[in-house]
Subunit: 412 residues, 2 copies
């Protein structure tokens, strides 16, 4: 009898539930008895919050809805396992729970932080000769995982960013006076998401004027000089900027603001965002109308505009994880290998979790223009296949229908 | 020979180009010779910026793209005509241009400010016995036009707001610690758009916890007390608030912020938004994680999620305007009359422009709960038919395809 358990960790994506479905269906197809879900990841597991997924996915409609539901069906956590040395009690607790549930394989859907969990459990399991297999399923809108061509979740976020950027560009052109729109896009250290704004440009769209990634030092004076020259030639200027751009001394641009929004209960100053700061600078200096637009959480939860390629790959990564475990392998993360660009072909592979956990993959400097104001064609060519094709929402009464999220179940 | 001219004015919507298409196609069907477009509304007309639309819409694909393209194809303006008395020169200029172009009818697609233009031109035309007919075509995401059941543009904005609110609610539930998300929605004086957040609630969604419209006085202390009680019962609290909520002394909530983002070239203080202010208050007081989400321009330009009902009605209003003019009527605005709710049936009617220009229709107090923290079922029942059915974007290479906007043409 083979029971398996699966959890979701870190920030959600528009397709994280497709990976969950990939694990669930493949495990069932390969003869798994029970497929358990950890509620709120390994943190929930420690609290014995576990759900039997077959009681939740009753029919094909449930699974179709699951694929189209944003956010993590099982809930998530940002919990990192402690060092094994000195915290054996935590690991003993987890492994005794896994034994109690007769778990054959443990799957964790997450980013580089979450892969740390797979790594530590693999290492502890080896130490105690546990038969449990541990496999990581890649997930993050940030696309910053090492050794994989890209990560599930990124394609849909990129599609959302490109599509809304096109709409914002259209909107900016409406009036006959100058407007500078600054679009702030997620990605604290890696510019993959912000780079997706480049896809807006095409036969039917002028594209954004500048793109600023955190991989290059941001220079406020050069930025303002650039705005001045853009404003000479354009009625509407649209800029895409990563929330994580930093100036030469290492401070985030948003930290340059003198204006604190509020101080939270932990004493942390909450600062105006990067877009607001830059829009403010432009308004002050050139006296033009500016708009600061934060794409905000929608980047990770806009399931109404999923990339079908992304949905399929997310599902396949879940399936490949089960295959690897059922063939006896452990301590791995599933990766994606691009075989060709045109036509786009991509297969799953496996990588040692130790080479992926806690490593951050940034945009190569060669894919950014030398003056740091845009990205090169190579980067556009890299992203474009990942946003291809659509998956139609199941519209009910005018709105996309979702599946209800789990309700917590505790093992008796 | 009948030439007509059409302009778009005020803020754009996701369906303002469907009204343009309704005017264009109906005028052509009814035998109009030339259909001119004013580039940037009446302001552009005064500068002789006029385009012959038949040179721009060459085939059915152009028209299908036009319907799906957000923002105003012809460009817009916020220009209001001056009083006739003392500014006869402006009116003489416009009417001599209309004579030169042999214009039979003048259509203006816009909100209550834009209808002021139709009213003044009608009045001046009458004074000089001009044969030109003037007809207004309703448009505004704000839904604040008098005498019409609703306005084209509102349904698509409401659909976008409801769909993204559902996604934000899902996203908020991911973690196992308390989060308060404050969604800021457009509508300076009328709460129609913010009310659309109520549609998120359904079989598959908990809905937002509170909805605050500008029609009711906003009380910060009551709001904080309410948040305290919601946080006792919920892990994730989601609030929809209009950008225009005001406290008892008449100040906007966002004006209460002590923190000025920047001072623009005109000396105007740019304040943090309503959502940021409220999220800050909650974070300060209760020490919980908060998120301030401004739906921003996407409310008016998210054409990738149009309501089909809205597209159809926008087109029909354009068509009805041409019909009225070609049957000899003038000084009118097309209105929508809801004949029944279930099944939803709606027809076009006509109203005297003097009764619509500059009038703002607010949400009736009876449709808001007495404590001002939510809307009543009547309001949900009113909005629901307007977001029904979809119109699929024309996806090309992973993104919705648009039509290129006009390039300015000047009459020789």
């Amino acid at each position: 009898m083979k029971n398996v358990i699966v959890g979701q960790s870190g920030g959600p994506t528009a397709v994280i539930n497709s990976s969950l479905l990939g694990v669930y269906k493949t495990a069932k197809d390969r003869g798994a008895d029970k497929v358990y879900g950890m509620v709120h990841g390994v943190k929930g597991l420690l609290d014995r919050e576990v759900v039997d997924l077959s009681t939740r996915f009753k029919n094909d409609l449930d699974m179709d809805l699951l694929k189209r539901t944003p956010s993590s069906f099982l809930g998530s956590c940002r919990y990192k396992l402690p060092d094994i040395d000195g915290h054996e009690d935590v690991y003993e607790k987890i492994f005794s729970l896994l034994e109690e549930l007769e778990i054959y394989a443990f799957f964790y859907i997450g980013g580089n932080d979450s892969m740390d969990t797979i790594m530590r459990l693999t290492d502890y399991g080896k130490k105690i000769n546990s038969p449990v297999r541990f496999i990581g399923v890649p997930k993050t809108i940030d696309n910053d995982l090492a050794l994989t061509d890209h990560t599930p979740g990124y394609g849909s976020a990129a599609k959302y960013i490109a599509a809304t950027t096109k709409e914002i560009i259209r909107d900016g052109l409406v009036y006959d006076y100058p407007v500078v729109s600054v679009i702030e896009i997620m990605g604290r250290n890696a510019g993959w998401l912000t780079a997706a704004a480049a896809l807006a440009k095409g036969e039917d769209c002028e594209g954004v004027d500048d793109i600023y990634l955190p991989e290059k030092v941001f220079d406020i004076d050069k930025f303002l000089a650039r705005m001045q020259s853009l404003l000479k030639e354009n009625r509407s200027v649209v800029i895409a900027v990563s929330e994580g751009v930093k100036v030469a001394d290492g401070r985030y641009v948003c930290e340059l603001s003198e204006h604190v929004d509020y101080v939270d209960a932990f004493g942390h100053k909450q600062l105006a965002g990067t877009a607001r700061f830059l829009a403010g600078k432009v308004a002050e200096k050139f006296g033009v109308k500016t708009r600061a637009i934060e794409l905000s959480s929608l980047q990770r939860c806009a399931a109404h505009i999923q990339s079908r390629i992304d949905v399929t790959e997310a599902f396949n990564c879940g399936g490949a994880a089960v295959k690897a475990a059922f063939e006896g392998r452990t301590g791995l993360v599933i990766t994606l290998k691009r075989v060709s660009d045109e036509p786009y072909m991509c297969i799953t592979e496996e990588a040692d979790v130790h080479k992926i956990a806690n490593v951050e993959k940034k945009v190569p400097k060669e894919w950014i223009t030398d003056d740091g104001t845009n990205v090169k064609t190579e980067l556009v060519r890299y992203i474009l296949p990942l946003i291809q094709a659509e998956i139609t929402p199941l519209w009910v009464n005018g709105l996309p229908r979702h599946i209800r999220l789990h309700s917590t179940s505790t093992i008796k």
